[in-house]
């Protein structure tokens, strides 16, 4: 299966805490992207990291990429109730013809 794997499947934290989600993938990638999906809504792009990059920041988001371990992590700092959503990693595999393959997602619940 080309699908990446995310863990944990679900995460529940208190407002103000940090949330970390992980994504593992199979073979060489072009880039890796993270998306957020609020309940009943479409996916929204958060951040893209290229295979030659190791870390990227966007506001309270920090993404790391370790190509030797074929894994990425998304850190949300100082979480807010509004961060409650499902988070998906999506991997652009070099050998699969520019096809973006999504992971199963992590459900994040931030309690206020």
């Amino acid at each position: 299966s080309q699908q990446g794997e995310e863990d944990p499947q679900a995460l529940s934290i208190q407002e103000g805490e940090n949330a970390t989600m992980n994504c593992s993938y199979k073979t060489s990638i072009n880039n890796l992207q993270w998306y957020r999906q609020n309940s009943g809504r479409g996916l929204v792009h958060l951040i893209l990291i290229r295979s030659n990059e190791r870390e990227k920041h966007s506001g309270r988001l920090r993404v790391t990429l370790d190509t030797s371990k074929k894994s990425s992590s998304l850190l949300i700092t100082a979480s807010r109730a509004a961060d409650t959503a499902s988070y998906f990693c999506a991997v652009l595999y070099m050998e699969y013809g520019n096809k973006l393959v999504f992971g199963a997602g992590t459900i994040l619940r931030v309690k206020s």
Binding site: N30, Q33, Q37, G42, L43, H45, S86, K99, A104, G105
Partner: protein, 113 residues
């Protein structure tokens, strides 16, 4: 001023019927996609068009037929609907063929009874 809009948002129909979902993007993107999200939230690509040309056609039953009249529109027609077709169908677009970010519509929830 929605970037990627799809209609209808909800669709409830009987097995065996034929239905269509329409998608339009006003972002000027060249590439459009259809994704299917099942009840476990797993998102799987179905089709991709670049400038009206089909470039990705996953292992999807031929009851599903995409049509792109122009690069701003990508419609999905489904014949002989089955129970297993119940899902949320998302349209998306991108400027660069999958190498950049995807912009998603709000989804069309299809329920087959």
């Amino acid at each position: 001023d929605t970037a990627v809009s799809q209609t209808p948002k909800y669709l409830v129909t009987q097995m065996g019927n034929d239905k269509s979902i329409k998608c339009e993007q006003n972002l000027g993107h060249d590439t459009m996609y259809w994704y299917k999200q099942d009840s476990k939230k797993f998102l799987k690509i179905m089709f991709s068009y670049n400038n009206k040309e089909l470039i990705i056609n996953e292992t999807v039953p031929n009851r599903f037929s995409p049509k792109s009249p122009d690069k701003a529109h990508l419609n999905l027609h489904i014949n002989s609907l089955e129970l297993g077709d119940s899902a949320v169908y998302f349209c998306a677009s991108s400027q660069v063929r999958a190498a950049g970010e995807l912009f998603f519509g709000e989804g069309s929830r299809l329920t087959v009874l």
